[in-house]
Amino acid sequence: MSPDPSIPCKHTVDCRVESIACVAVETFLLTLRAPSIVKAARPGQFVNLSVPRCGEILWRRPFSIHQVDNESGTFSVLFNVVGRGSQALNRVQLGDSLNCLGPLGNRFQIPPGTDELIIVAGGLGIAPFYFLLQDWAQEPFQKIIFYGVASNDRFCRLDDFSRLCSSLHLTTDDGSQGEKGTVIDSLRRHLCIKSERNRFLLTCGPTSMLRAVQRLGAEFQLSGAVSVENRMACGFGACMGCPVKLKNPGAPHKPYALACKDGPVFSLTEIVIDE
């Protein structure tokens, strides 16, 4: 997928922290004011945020654009505290300024004629889909979400998601809410129910889940797209640090695409997903 020329240019901008809220265990919703980013952003894109005041941390940290509010010119990211960068982010205060590079990457695109959109999200893989559902709220097709986490205290914004979709299937590893098991079991059961609808899969989450979704897609001959989260130094194609292996490269010396520039969204059948 090549970048869409209609997407306005990436740029760097200092954003004011408008709010930061804990929405689940170790999970925060950070809202930044950045009208220029909001205007340009499309679902599936991400921003690369400077981690405040922490010299040792060199790189920015990439986060999916989770939600935008055109009126207030703000956007939000949903993040997990997993390491140094996200810990530092978690300590920002209202009114602080964060430097943001974005919007980056390509966007989710749904083929014309789709009448059942199936979203498969594991953990924070749910992040980009809120923006997507916001944007496509008026689209008439079915929107089915399969959303799995480790345990019930990890689910984010279930009310909001349930309002934006036709049905929401929850799974937890420990059975503390929804079905016990993985989204994959739940998804497989759904796919086994024959349907005349034109189904299209969208998925984001842990690598092992993405691989399973890719296999299910192949098994059921469904097309779809996957959003990957490779380690990134620059986020805009400068370092060549984020290769994604292509199944059928255009040329032998071009076996890779770049997650940040050619992605993060790739056709489900296009790439090799490995650890």
Binding site: H11, L58, M232, G237, A238, P243, Y256
Partner: protein, 304 residues
């Protein structure tokens, strides 16, 4: 007016702030993110004779105040470079320095020969940190005789300035520097990355597919400064400094130890406008202190 222009061989650069090879792509990706007019020279991602796919992932890892990379010089090859990359580069007002590498001495000669007559190219930088050492290539970077010979061969192909880029992974960088000066280089650039490594303790696997990779960023600045200082004392051609430069302050340190120009590398990833900012800050600094760049270069005060 305070003068910040410099000259390497026959070519003048409007300012001494360049961007380092492999950290600025072929400039396209920075369109809209930086004011190209403020960049003294764009040094391109390394170009090789044949296209190269680059290394398998993972290619990058973040370390304390630094990063490791084993990108593996992916590039479209010299032919496609001319067709696909030069048109955009030619539109820029910066000087264009094409960084060249090869597995054999002949490769370097062939690439430079292909490029010499291409309009819009101002100089060449020879990347002597050959990535293919293990596959039987020679180690241009760590053997003075070989480095001199390659430089001399390439010298015959072009009248444009030749900048030889040196690796710090040697016992004596000044030995290599003197050899390539002898071979006919117009300038040296240093340093390329230091060999480094990191391990994922959980999986017990190396963090890079190639096991070891190149360390860059602020962590290596003190090493770069020592190497550049050593080179500046040892050769009479200009030295272009590279290594961990993030701001004007860092650049000034390198000018003071004797560098004629600096290249901004890893910093471009975090702050794509970095090089242009340094140029603006340098201009301000020279104005405030009423200095020319030449007053700064080599101005280190050493006792005794």
């Amino acid at each position: 007016m305070n003068e910040i222009a410099i000259r390497i061989g026959s070519v003048e650069f409007a300012n001494p702030i360049m961007v380092a090879s492999g950290t600025f792509g072929y400039a396209e990706e920075f369109d809209g993110l930086v004011d190209f007019r403020e960049i003294g020279a764009v040094v391109t991602k390394t170009v090789t004779l044949e296209p190269r796919p680059g290394n398998a992932p993972p290619r990058i890892y973040e370390t304390a105040a630094g990063m490791l990379n084993s990108i593996g010089l992916p590039n479209v090859g010299v032919k496609d470079f001319i067709d696909q990359k030069m048109p955009f580069l030619r539109t820029l007002q910066s000087r264009i320095v094409v960084n060249v590498a090869g597995v054999t001495a002949k490769d370097y000669v062939a690439v430079v020969a292909c490029l010499d007559s291409v309009p819009g190219i101002d100089a060449f930088e020879l990347n002597y940190s050959c990535p293919n050492v293990k596959q039987g290539g020679m180690s241009f970077s760590s053997n003075a005789q070989i480095a001199e010979a390659v430089t001399a061969s390439v010298r015959k192909e072009t009248k444009k300035p030749l900048i030889a880029k040196l690796t710090p992974n040697v016992t004596s960088i000044s030995d290599i520097g003197r050899a390539v000066e002898q071979g006919g280089a117009d300038a040296l650039s240093a340093i390329n990355t230091l060999v480094g490594m990191a391990v994922d303790v959980r999986t017990r696997k190396p963090r890079l597919s190639t096991i070891t990779g190149g360390l860059s960023g602020p962590a290596i600045k003190p090493i770069a400064l020592a190497k550049v200082y050593e080179l500046c004392k040892s050769v009479s051609i200009p030295v272009v400094a590279i290594g961990g430069i993030m701001n004007l302050h860092d650049a000034l340190e390198f000018f003071m130890v004797g560098a004629i120009a600096v290249q901004v590398g890893t910093a471009n990833f975090m702050n794509p406008g970095c090089a242009a900012e340094i140029t603006r800050d340098l201009r301000c600094y020279c104005q405030q202190q009423d200095l020319n760049l030449s007053d700064l270069i080599g101005s280190l005060e050493v006792d005794g």
